[in-house]
């Protein structure tokens, strides 16, 4: 009996998912070429492949412990729903490719996030709030990353007091978002879910589906991520900003799109806050359209 050969086959099962599959579908083909005595060969045929596959998933899970740092609540929810082993078992092939590629750490994280988004999409209803928490933590990670990468083109925002402007003056301003801002719609409020998870009181049966809009803004003046709680019209307005449209045009588009009778004055408090905080500024030499 050659114990080295047994180690070799076991290790291959863990580092080559395709070999493990072959061991299930065509065991004699998989083991052909290995000098195994009949007892060992028989042991391999009786091996609990599901356990071995899950063990490979555990190895992948542990080797991705670094994800806990930025994706704490996503990983907590994966475990809450008892699917983290299943997820990392499915991710194993990509993970192994990552280990042997020249991808940066952040590129590897991006790969995992893409994988997980796709993986949970089909089973969304089975895991309430998981998609929301993943999106929230991904946006948080991406915005924070933008502080350390070359995305800070507009590094020195200026805060503008628009409260003294007359109605017409405000309507003619052409706003531009100062720094990076992402606006996202959620079915469940991720901030509430995180609060419940942190307190250990998360219960998916108590979740109520209520559309929620959040803005993730990279405040370059403080290098802080700021999360803005938005209502639908404001979220739509922010999404329409392109550096060419005036406040008047933006509001008209929002009102038309929402088929509502919102009045421009109802946008004023947000605009004053956003200009005042430096999230919005103006493009002085742009033309209103």
């Amino acid at each position: 009996m050659n114990s080295g050969t047994i180690n070799s086959i076991l290790a291959r099962c863990i580092v080559e998912p395709a070999f493990l599959d072959q061991l299930v579908q065509d065991p004699s083909g998989a083991l052909r070429g290995y000098a195994l005595d009949p007892q060992i060969y028989s042991d391999f045929l009786k091996l609990d492949i599901a356990r071995l596959r899950n063990f490979a998933g555990l190895v992948t899970k542990v080797q991705n412990n670094g994800l806990w740092e930025q994706f704490l609540h996503t990983r907590t929810l994966l475990n809450y729903y008892r699917i983290d082993l299943e997820v990392f078992t499915a991710y194993r092939d990509t993970h192994l490719q990552n280990r042997h590629s020249r991808l940066s750490h952040n590129q590897q994280i991006e790969r995992f996030l893409s994988f997980l988004q796709e993986y949970i999409e089909a089973k969304y209803s089975a895991y309430p709030a998981l998609r929301e928490i993943l999106s929230h933590e991904q946006l948080t990670w991406e915005i924070r990353l933008s502080f350390s990468t070359g995305k800070r083109m507009l590094s020195n925002g200026r805060k503008i007091d628009v409260s003294s402007l007359k109605y017409e003056q405000l309507m003619n301003l052409i706003p531009v978002i100062w720094g990076e801002m992402r606006v996202e719609e959620f079915t469940y409020d991720p901030l509430e879910v995180i609060s419940k998870l942190s307190q250990g009181s998360f219960d998916p049966r108590q979740l109520s589906a209520q559309p929620r809009w959040l803005g993730y803004w990279a405040d370059n003046s403080t290098e802080q991520l700021r999360i803005l709680e938005l209502d639908l019209p404001i979220a739509m307005l922010l999404r329409q900003i392109n550096g060419r449209r005036s406040v008047r045009t933006l509001i008209r588009r929002v009102v038309k799109g929402a088929q509502s009778d919102l009045r421009p004055s109802e946008f004023r408090p947000f605009l004053e806050m956003a200009f005042g905080e430096g999230a919005l500024t103006t493009v002085a030499d742009s033309h209103a359209c």
């Binding site: 009996m1 050659n2 114990s3 080295g4 050969t5 047994i6 180690n7 070799s8 086959i9 076991l10 290790a11 291959r12 863990i14 580092v15 080559e16 395709a18 070999f19 083991l31 052909r32 070429g33 290995y34 007892q39 060992i40 042991d43 391999f44 091996l47 609990d48 599901a50 356990r51 071995l52 899950n54 063990f55 555990l58 190895v59 542990v62 080797q63 412990n65 670094g66 806990w68 740092e69 704490l72 990983r75 475990n79 008892r82 699917i83 983290d84 082993l85 299943e86 192994l96 490719q97 280990r99 042997h100």
Partner: protein, 291 residues
């Protein structure tokens, strides 16, 4: 400083994780030492700074004690370097293999393995048989000689019985200790997982281990998925782990109990303090002068 604090009453330590420096800044006296993975030191040597706050015990998962592909000299030299640098009283290493030879049966067309060795990057429980026993004995002898400190062998969790096994893990460890002066790092959670996989009573079977050889104990949590118990260093240990600890305490000359809550960059501080208290309470039940 070597062995300081590990001579009398068992010390309580914490496995290193990103949250540990901040935890020590607030609760320096809560733990007596920090267990540091060799692999982390290799990747990020600056973590050794923690040694300014607390003594360090070195833990390792690179020597592939039960494997037939030894680590390269550079790795062993690096373990030696950190053994000396940390002044660790011993090195804990898994009773497992990490690497294995890629045999001719694998045509070498696998994009994930570009060399002649499979590197699992994780400890794998080996077949429990005479050949592996001999290999582990050779490894202990060699590495204790090269590192000049004891190498404690840590039981790996058994999730499946490896083909080629002719004895149980308990029998393997007993035989190992009968044939050598090997010392043990008993991971109570691993032992509990093994008991659930193989269907035995952990509180009864732990007594059949050579507990007098146990120098260090590991404690961490477990998780159950797909009907199987899994190692989980993000969860608190179940009560039975402390029942097992009490049994070990009464029958060993234990020197260190390490809480391994190190898989997440964060672990709730309150829970950690409670776990430390729980451990110290268990230790206080034994009259150490008579051990």
């Amino acid at each position: 400083m070597r062995a300081s604090g590990f001579d009398s009453h068992p010390a309580v330590g914490l496995a290193y994780s990103a949250y540990v420096p901040m935890f020590l800044n607030k609760h320096l006296d809560a733990v007596d030492y920090i267990e540091m993975p060799f692999e982390l030191l290799q990747h990020n040597p600056s973590v050794i700074e923690i040694q300014r706050l607390r003594p360090v015990i070195l833990h390792c998962a690179s020597l592939s004690m039960a494997g037939f592909v030894p680590p390269d000299d550079l790795t062993v030299e690096s373990v030696k370097f950190w053994t000396e640098k940390t002044k660790t009283p011993w090195v804990g290493e898994h009773l497992a293999f990490v690497t294995a030879e890629r045999e001719a049966a694998d045509a070498g067309d696998n994009k994930n393995s570009a060399c002649d060795v499979y590197d699992v990057g994780y400890s794998v429980n080996p077949p429990m048989n005479a050949a592996n026993l001999q290999q582990v004995l050779r490894s202990v002898e060699e590495y204790e000689k090269r590192l000049s400190v004891p190498v404690l062998l840590e039981n790996s969790p058994v999730y499946f019985v490896p083909p080629g096994s002719t004895m149980t893990q308990i029998e393997f460890i007993r035989e190992l200790c009968a044939r050598s002066s090997a010392q043990l790092l008993l991971d109570l959670t691993h032992f509990y997982i093994t008991s659930q996989t193989l269907g035995f009573d952990p509180l009864r079977e732990i007594m059949s281990l050579p507990l007098d050889r146990v120098v260090e104990v590991h404690i961490s949590g477990v998780d159950m998925q797909d009907g199987i118990y899994w190692d989980d260093h993000t969860k608190r240990a179940p009560e039975i782990i402390y029942d097992m600890l009490t049994l070990v305490l009464a029958r060993s000359s234990l020197k260190a109990v390490t809480l391994e809550y190190n898989w997440s960059a964060r672990f709730p501080e309150k829970a950690l303090l409670q776990e430390i208290d729980r451990t110290r309470e268990a230790l206080s039940t034994v009259a150490w002068e008579y051990v």
